[in-house]
Symmetry: C2
Subunit: 254 residues, 2 copies
């Protein structure tokens, strides 16, 4: 399916996680913040590049960017709205609340390298299960920037032990979509108490011999919006990404 | 030599290009702009990541950053000061004109991967000649951001034809310090009329069989300061870099 066909479905109201959609096309996290916060967010991203690899930033009020030809207010399958750092609504359309001073950020998403992993024979357990990827708030602090500070959020994929090196090697070639894992193995080491209870997305079963691999996640700036009590922001609903018009391989540095 | 020892020499007044200095330590371009321009510069960098890979951004008025333990006002071997987009002075010390609202940006420099190239047997002609690397203003436009727009600036290294692939492969692993070449071969294709007349730095001889390789250069944002007629900015003197306290290999993604 092409990105524009998928966006049409979402615009028509389909709410679904986008893992596995539009294979080969880059998916992105959305975070739109008032222009007064745009520098802090851009600096937060620069200081936490593994969690917040910025793919594109729109002009204030714009609902298109160079890499996203759709309408950022309607063409994602889900949005989360924040007021004073608190999620106040999950919506399918944010046209009516899209303010003229909102600056949209598109941030790389690890769904982007799943196609490369699959091609290398690394199974994607959440795709096999037909569920959203599990995401966890860790005990690892981000480097603050202005009003933004908070914990690193990670996505987790179980990988058979024999394929861990392959998964690391392949994803390291994609720094623009989170790159190599930030952690391999013991969840407790990064403050994740229970893999069965993700903070976002769905739990996913580990098969015997699977090792949990954790990648920095583009939900991290939404966690910073919450921790910072930011007045107003619109993000994507975790796992419900912006499907862009850029091919995955554009972000392969190898 | 350690970065702090080199910085002491520069602080004491030594003015020299830093190519070949402190092998294994990361070198950086400096551009300090008033805080009112900081968002535009950070966005310009995001939109032109090959030319402007941001390594660190300081707080307004700060003359240290997390990766640079020295004094940014004295510890570079040369500075270039801009007023209304015009270079008005080359100085060895900018303490007296460092304003409280200046935001210092440290931007990756291709000197960083020269050590990896040398270890792979790729000769560095400008190091052999003991001169600064040649830099050229190209006809390739950058993607604008706010008040900043301008041409891409490149550095050039002649590489023996048999080693071009090696040089591309190695430098592609260092996206944070400009990554792979933006152009290989014919200078005219990117608007460089005469290799013997660089816009910054020194000309360097091509040996028989050498191919000119061009890398995006961190002087690019200084070109944008000029093209944009920016009121006030302080950059490094081209080739006279900030030597940071970070090791080169931290920026190797492979």
């Amino acid at each position: 399916m092409t990105p524009s066909a998928a966006r049409q479905l979402f615009r028509d109201g389909l709410r679904t996680p986008t893992a596995g959609w539009c294979r080969g096309w880059t998916q992105a996290n959305l975070l739109a913040v008032p222009s007064s916060l745009a520098y802090d967010l851009l600096l937060f991203a620069q200081r936490n590049p593994r969690a917040c690899p910025v793919l594109d930033v729109g002009e204030p009020g714009a609902f298109r960017t160079e890499i996203f030809a759709g309408d950022l207010r309607t063409d994602l399958p889900g949005y989360r709205v924040y007021e004073d750092g608190v999620p106040v609504a999950d919506l399918s359309d944010v046209t009516r609340i899209w303010r003229a001073d909102l600056v949209p950020f598109l941030i790389g998403c690890s769904f982007t390298f799943e196609d490369a992993l699959l091609r290398a024979g690394v199974p994607m357990r959440h795709l096999e299960a037909g569920t959203n990827v599990p995401m966890y708030v860790t005990s690892v602090p981000c480097r603050p920037a202005g009003a933004l500070a908070g914990p690193l959020v990670v996505s987790m994929r179980p990988v058979p032990a024999a394929l861990v090196a392959t998964a690391v090697k392949i994803t390291s070639r994609y720094p623009a979509v989170h790159g190599a894992p930030v952690h391999v193995g013991d969840p407790a080491a990064i403050g994740v108490a229970d893999l069965a209870a993700p903070d976002f997305g769905d739990p996913v079963p580990l098969h015997p011999g699977d090792v949990p691999l954790f990648w920095a996640c583009g939900v991290t700036p939404q966690a910073a919006v919450m921790a910072g009590g930011i007045r107003f922001a619109i993000g994507h609903l975790p796992g419900h990404m912006a499907i862009t018009d850029v091919r995955d391989h554009e972000f392969d540095v190898a």
